[in-house]
Symmetry: C2
Subunit: 339 residues, 2 copies
DNA sequence: TTGAAAGCGCTACCAC
DNA sequence: GTGGTAGCGCTTTCAA
């Protein structure tokens, strides 16, 4: 209460020189004390005077000045362009951030909507981050080069596949497709539809999941039929209306939401699930358990973030190694009643 | 292709002095040219030489050095602690960021999990942001003061209610509760349950929604009954089993997910929806339309972000005014079949 | 039209 | 133990 500074808004921002003046010492001493510099021994009374002066003034060190002097930052820039927005990724980044902070990095998320693939890395580079984690889709070889030359020790891409010249955290969405199809094959299905959302967002993910589906189907002599679908009841009803003409005995519906939409439409059209057509979603939403039949799904898991924080730290400390690829995504079929 | 710099990883980061040397001019000239300084006229050939030298070296200006010299930054720090993670907010922040970038601000998201309410603002202040937008829950008066004294021209809180001494973007969740209850009252219900999730995350939101519900109910002589519920089928089944003992004729279920869970459980327990008990959710999920009966809901909307970007800009340019409060949340009942 | 130089806040080297 | 001070990269007066 009594410690609240007097002038909330006016007045210049206090610097270490102000602290030094108030404590009656030099700026060097202030720096030593506030950074707990072990290489130099300062008497306890002096330390106290400095600390008191600092809190009295509400002194906060100036990160820009510090890193300018140091010649490097400890900033990890997490570029969030075109990022999957679900709770799974949200939690993952959250934990990755905590892990990196524990290693004394400053993590900063930088959204770059509207900037193109050349401008965005330039904008990031201006902050001189020591490491950059960005979606592979936002990072061209030129972009990687810009970041490297601006002092980034580690450039790490994130996405369905690696990008040449950078380390990669791979979330191979094919895994999801192959997992779903594998499950359906096991249950005796051979003519399988794969829902392809017509919305903008899921486009790339859907392509990769389809690719994984095709891969597995091919090696088992099963048929894969892509099924464009908008996330609207009419679109689903239309698809359901011509369902029997397509001769499918199963469908992998991209994710649980599309699966629920389609399953309802199929049921309304008199198609029995799973007898006539099996349905599998993905993401294992709680809601799928409420439907009748309960929705089979593919559960996704991301790797534990702490080892990745350690990885970043290692790449920063020993840069220049060969690009490393780490697989983040684990997928597993969850069998319920709809398949 | 041919423009790719040669040494990807080694070598020092090029500075404006390097550009000057290569172009055969002074550092001052480099600065004039690259910043399109209108106050000084540079010959066209010189400009070209400078620009070519810059691209040849892959020069990227050093934001820290620039802002150190300028005495201020154009960084807007968006603190993301305890933020609702839904698509609604996600889109909102995304657009706010775009709007601010259009005004030439650098927007940076800073997660601060693990830092307490005193440390977090200090960490933010080290970056000397010109404006800070942070959840009200993460911002004590001390924190606000620290930011002010570190040069932040605008400190803006975000949340259910304003915080003393700062501008506020208010998302008054009571609105949601009162809207839901208002709808149920209109439809003749008088004894209304309000689901309170027992999970950690929604706690505060649920409290506010309940408060709004109580407010409206009180003024209409209706009864409100809080109903703790975990997001699990057993918990819902248990609640449904003792439903008739409670004598409720309606329930506002916190959001659509809890509503779906509970509605299913009620139906399984033989309670007719909406005849015996009306059910209302919130968030207006697409999935609610797939249930039978279709789920009534409260649709949430956040204000258009562009005016808020303009607001931030105005507060930065003319600091010191009285704290402003802006209401962001709009709620509206969506009547379907479950109420 | 261009160049020289000061100085933003900070840390680390070197004297005392 | 403590202080003086150079210099990180940049912009901007002031002089030429």
């Amino acid at each position: 209460m009594s410690q609240l500074p007097k002038q909330p808004t006016e007045g210049p921002v206090p610097t270490s020189a102000d602290v030094a003046r108030l404590a009656g010492v030099s700026r060097a001493t202030v720096s030593y004390v506030l950074n707990n510099n072990a290489a130099v021994r300062i008497s306890e009374p002096t330390r106290r005077r400095v600390r008191e002066a600092a809190t009295e003034l509400g002194y906060v060190p100036h990160a820009a000045a510090r890193s300018l002097r140091a010649g490097h930052t400890r900033m990890v820039l997490l570029a969030t362009v075109n990022f999957p927005a679900g709770p799974l990724h949200h939690r993952f980044f959250h934990q990755l951030e905590s892990g990196l902070r524990r290693l004394d990095y400053t993590v900063v998320q930088y959204g770059s909507t509207g900037l193109d693939a050349d401008d965005a890395p330039r904008a990031w580079a201006e902050l001189r981050p020591v490491a950059v984690i960005a979606p592979g889709t936002a990072l061209t070889p030129q972009g990687i080069s810009v970041l490297r030359r601006s002092g980034a020790k580690a450039v790490i891409t994130l996405g369905s596949r690696p990008v040449a010249g950078a380390h990669a955290l791979v979330m191979d969405q094919r895994e999801v497709g192959s997992c779903a199809i594998g499950h359906l094959l096991e249950r005796g299905r051979r003519r399988i539809g794969v829902v392809m959302p017509e919305e903008r967002g899921p486009g790339l993910l859907a392509e990769r999941r389809l690719a994984g589906a095709r891969q597995v189907a091919l090696s088992h002599g099963a048929r894969i039929e892509p099924l464009p679908l908008r996330y609207e009841e009419e679109s689903a009803a239309r698809l359901a209306a011509r369902w029997r003409t397509m001769g499918l005995d199963a469908v992998f519906a991209y994710n649980d939401e599309y699966a629920m939409l389609l399953m309802r439409a199929l049921q309304d059209a008199g198609i029995e699930v799973p007898r006539e057509t099996a349905v599998v979603g993905a993401d294992d939403l709680m809601l799928g358990r409420l439907l009748r039949p309960r929705l089979s799904s593919v559960r996704l898991e991301l790797a534990t973030p702490q080892p990745l924080a350690d990885l970043v730290d290692r790449l920063v400390q020993h840069p220049g190694g060969a690009p490393e690829h780490h697989d983040l995504l684990r997928a597993g079929a969850v069998h319920r009643e709809s398949s």
